[in-house]
Symmetry: C2
Subunit: 156 residues, 2 copies
Amino acid sequence: MVAGPLPVPSGPGKDRLRLWIRLLRASRTIEAELRERLKKEFDTTLPRFDVMAALYRAPEGMLMSDLSRFLLVSNGNVTGIVDRLVSEGLVARARRNGDRRTSMVRLTDEGSKSFATIAAAHEGWIGELLGKVSEDDARRLTGMLTSFRSNWEGRE
Amino acid sequence: MVAGPLPVPSGPGKDRLRLWIRLLRASRTIEAELRERLKKEFDTTLPRFDVMAALYRAPEGMLMSDLSRFLLVSNGNVTGIVDRLVSEGLVARARRNGDRRTSMVRLTDEGSKSFATIAAAHEGWIGELLGKVSEDDARRLTGMLTSFRSNWEGRE
DNA sequence: GCAATATATTTCAAGCTTAAAGTTTTATGT
DNA sequence: ACATAAAACTTTAAGCTTGAAATATATTGC
């Protein structure tokens, strides 16, 4: 839910609802800007970038299910994105001896080089887009969100 | 970009990158949970809910372009969602005398009743999902995100 | 060994999303 | 009036996303 300018009525629990709305609006705003820049400057997309970022940090490769879990998206979704990256020569699937159901997905050399370039620009963009958040606030916010995450992950 | 558990290397500007990653992971986690519950409990979707939430607060109706701007999504996107809501009888397009390019989009009575029910559940879910965030932290976080937003909106 | 079960992945249908191109209507300049 | 531009919206193509069904391989119980 992306309710906007108009205020959420006050009442018990409304502070959390308001927080959620702000959180979602902030991330959507930044996400939209990143998506646009990735398209314009590198002719790629955020999901492709996400997959490549995950693989960049796993030189040994990842299983499809690892990617899916890590990126918080469904299995079938990853299949399509990886398919397209493979057809573009940025990613490769390597058959495994042990288990013929699975394959290790890795960046190709080209993919790795490509990602390094894009990631550098990406980091600059984030610095720019979040430039008004002081380093101090950034650390404090990060801390709150981290504790939220660990609380969450202890769920169910 | 939804980088996860592994830490972002330290360096200048890395605090903001880390913040962005946490922000995105938090919102995606909550969003996924909301989407699933909306589907399971009310057989609807987050985009439909977003549109209805916007219309609920505008009894006089909204133009398509208002919806698009407000929800931070593209024009064409809104067209499709509203089309489906109309075909479900939850929303109506009212021709306007003044300008034949536009129409006012409103909730029908059924749509309004339906939204009220779902919104109540939604607010409860948010309270639950963000339950571990203290009201105090919630207000502080909201404040930071709000100032981020106003900074952002002064851009370009 | 072999049936039953579990795991890993892909396929599928439906819907969401965007950017770009197209349509219709309104506003503007002369 | 009338051509031109602007505005509001829809359509389209491509890609993303999910949940569910299908496929293929591995593991487990007997």
